[in-house]
């Protein structure tokens, strides 16, 4: 007979079941991505997942000599997220370098699961963005199993607008010069690939909400902050500042807000802390997009706010019973 202190029961949830739920939640968006981008997306995803899981296993087993650090589902989440953060045209060896940075540098060198300060997938993305700017900003138009619009390859809409604004053009001039249909970018972008994958991302996130894996406060505060800031700026000067719809739908805002900023390890514990963290991310994204030299900014925003998480955790606590 066993003898141990109470409690004598445990809830069915485990770290594995939680990470499995996150993988399940990412599946709809992953399927959409593969349908739109085809074989190249499958290759990127496969390389990323296999390298992330393999590296985590290898590092915990043979480098850190602590096989218990290996958590396959958690590494798989990083693998899928990394794949979704890379253009489908990324060469396999760049994907592999990304996995080394994500798992080896951002995660395991801090002590493995639960110890990392920065979100592994985003760290890898930013590393690749800085190291391989051309490969990482090569925005392949949908060219997958579902015939979408005319496939072209080029800069992302965010990049186009940023370049245009830098050279003194207005948003509509920049888009006209690029040959892209303004309406496609500003409205129909949402109506085709972008929105379908947005829908898939939201669907997956709803699954996490229903399973009580995540709480909605962080994504909500990010999205509301972005909406408010871009509504104000574009309302004042629509020719130089992009609007809320565009900002919410592009540049990985949804993926970042729903799945990357909500990473347990690198986000605050308390609800109020989560809101502060979310507002911070929203502010930084919009500052980078409007006033910075990078067109996008979600990755940087999350990484910057990751740094503040220990401080936020220290400043914001739960409401305690009988101590108000």
């Amino acid at each position: 007979m066993l003898v141990s202190p109470s409690p004598h029961l445990h809830s069915p949830a485990s770290t594995n079941s939680i990470m499995r739920d996150v993988v399940i939640a990412l599946l709809p968006a992953l399927v959409v991505m593969i349908l739109f981008y085809g074989w190249s997306a499958i290759i990127v995803t496969a390389v990323s997942c296999v390298s992330c899981v393999g590296l985590e296993y290898a590092i915990s087993r043979w480098l850190m000599h602590k096989p218990s650090l290996f958590n396959g589902w958690s590494a798989l989440v990083t693998g899928v997220l990394l794949a979704m953060n890379l253009p489908s045209t990324t060469p396999w060896w760049i994907v592999f370098i990304g996995a080394v940075v994500a798992i080896g540098v951002a995660k395991m060198s801090f002590g493995g699961l639960g110890q990392n300060l920065f979100n592994p997938a985003i760290t890898a993305r930013v590393f690749l963005l800085i190291s391989f700017p051309v490969a990482m900003t090569n925005w392949a138009m949908p060219q997958g199993f579902i015939p979408a619009v005319d496939a072209v390859s080029g800069a992302t809409p965010l990049g186009l607008i940023k370049e245009g604004l830098k050279s003194g053009q207005t948003i509509s001039e920049a888009l006209a010069a690029s040959g892209l249909d303004v309406h496609y970018v500003l409205r129909d972008l949402g109506a085709s690939g972008g929105e379908v994958s947005a829908l898939a991302l939201v669907l997956g996130f709803c699954y996490l909400l229903v399973r009580k894996v995540v709480k909605p406060w962080i994504p909500l505060s990010i999205l509301v902050t972005i909406t408010v800031i871009s509504a104000v700026f574009s309302g004042i000067d629509p020719e130089h500042f992009t609007g809320p719809n565009f900002n919410l739908m592009t540049g990985g805002v949804l993926l970042g807000a729903l799945f990357m900023a909500t990473d347990y390890v690198t986000s605050p514990v308390s609800n109020l802390g989560g809101v502060i963290y979310g507002i911070g991310i929203g502010l930084i994204v919009m500052m980078i997009r409007y006033f910075g030299s990078y067109p996008e900014g979600m990755s940087f925003a999350i990484l910057i706010m990751n740094c503040f998480v220990p401080l936020i955790n220290r400043a914001f606590h739960q409401k305690k019973y009988g101590r108000s």
Partner: protein, 449 residues
């Protein structure tokens, strides 16, 4: 109807009330009983009988060893065989009085008739004396002497007596059964306590998963017509029956850290205590019987029981009567699965507060601990609003100042954090040790003042 619940934390474990349909059976008398001198919170009781004495059921065999202590009565008639230390269920040596059972003769003045007595004595001191002399203690888990709790210090008045019928622990059904089968007696017991407390109102709180009990008690309250008494439906949520949580749910007030329920005008008593108060005051029957559940996932349905037992009956005798401990049982627990104590010694005896023998199977095995992923589930689950993952970390580095600042001493040891932790971190194990350390420091500091 508006369902009440507490405002912070809480979990929703499966309620597993497998034995809810089992009527209370009277357990046969065992050949021997072992009556513990440490069945209540406070000082141990002092034996007042000698080896060889003949005792009757309901006769005092030990007196209080201090202000916070309680009388202990013989649960059976027979001969005192020995007075010696004996292992309790956790394996600690505690003084026990061993009595060989001979017949079933009761002490004079104990009314064993089943008639309901609804006339409540007028004299408050008489009632309190009866409760004290009958050795009544809180049967909700803490076994705090009831006469002390019903006698608030000068300057404090009770506004509300909360009768705790939540039975929020999974598996346990003894409170549910007495609410169904001893309804009127419990309601009269509540009215007696209302009178002692100066005529405050009384709310009987019952969780929504016991609709039959809510119906029966509501009907009884209406029929007996005691003033200021009502029934409240509580949400099914653990730890709804925690004293502080129940006060929050029913009165929307929170007891300050380090304070007592009476500070916010509340007195909480368990329904089983109410029954014991009724028997003590109206029938002059000391607390020598209680109701317990024999249950568990590994116990087949036909072997689930709710027993009325004589306090002092060995656990092994009860298990035998119930058809033995199932072979696939992995752990035996006395009390609920969230806060109960693991039984290390089945030869140990039942005490006033015994509420179950729970046979748990493989589901109770602990999983190997993995890394904390800071998901915050422990903090979300904590009904005291603490941050268990952080407390564990602080305990690890031995920072007692920070532990105190982060209110480790407020922990009620409900187990919600450890239950919820997806990384199987033994949070409560650590927090218990941290709490003991900090409480020691606080006590030492107060003693110096």
């Amino acid at each position: 109807m508006n369902k009440l619940t507490f405002s912070i934390g809480g979990i929703h474990p499966s309620d597993s009330k497998i034995s809810r349909g089992c009527k209370i059976e009277t357990l046969p008398l065992p050949p021997k009983v072992y009556v513990s001198m440490f069945q209540h919170l406070g000082a141990q009781a002092k034996p007042v009988v000698a080896v060889g004495d003949k005792v009757k059921a309901g006769q005092i065999i030990a007196e209080p060893g201090g202000f916070i202590s309680a009388y202990v009565h013989s649960p059976v008639s027979g001969t005192v065989k020995s007075i010696a230390p004996r292992k309790d269920l956790a394996g600690f040596a505690v003084m026990h009085i061993e009595i060989d059972v001979e017949g079933d003769e009761w002490a004079e003045g104990v009314d064993l008739s089943p008639e309901l007595v609804t006339n409540i004595p007028e004299d408050r001191d008489f009632i309190l004396d009866r409760i004290k002399m009958c050795g009544v203690v809180g049967l909700g888990g803490a076994t705090f002497p009831t006469h002390v709790k019903l006698n608030p210090p000068p300057g404090k008045t009770a506004e509300c007596l909360i009768l705790n019928g939540a039975e929020c622990e999974p598996f346990l059904t003894s409170d549910f059964r007495i609410l169904l089968e001893r309804t009127d007696e419990i309601v009269v017991g509540a009215a007696i306590m209302q009178k002692v407390l100066g005529g405050c109102r009384c709310v009987i709180g019952i969780e929504e998963n016991k609709p039959e009990a809510i119906e029966a008690v509501s009907a009884s309250v209406a029929r007996l017509g005691f003033p200021g008494m009502s029934v409240a439906t509580l949400k099914k949520r653990y730890p709804q029956g925690g004293e502080k949580q129940l006060i929050d749910a029913v009165m929307h007030r929170q007891v300050k850290s380090g304070g007592l329920p009476i500070d916010v005008g509340a007195v909480v008593q368990n329904v089983a205590t109410s029954l014991a108060v009724y028997e003590a005051v109206q029938k002059n029957k000391p607390l020598v019987t209680n109701t317990m559940t024999f249950t568990g996932n590994v116990v087949p349905p036909e072997r689930q029981h709710n027993y009325l037992f004589r306090i002092g009956t060995p656990l092994s005798f009860i298990a035998e009567q119930a058809g033995g401990i199932p072979e696939n049982a992995v752990k035996l627990v006395s009390g609920g699965p969230m806060m109960g104590k693991a039984i290390a010694n089945l030869e140990a005896t039942t005490v006033k507060g015994s509420s179950s023998i729970l046979c748990l199977g493989d589901e109770t095995r602990r999983h190997p601990e993995t890394a904390c992923i800071r998901c915050g589930r422990c903090a979300d689950a904590c009904p005291m609003g603490l941050e268990p993952f952080f407390l564990k970390k602080l305990y690890g580095v031995g920072d007692t100042d920070a532990l105190e600042r982060n209110a480790v001493q407020d922990c009620i040891e409900c187990g919600c954090c450890q239950y919820s932790c997806p990384a199987y971190v033994p949070l409560l194990d650590n927090i218990r040790m941290a709490k003991a350390q900090v409480m020691g420091i606080i006590r030492a500091r107060n003693a110096k003042k």
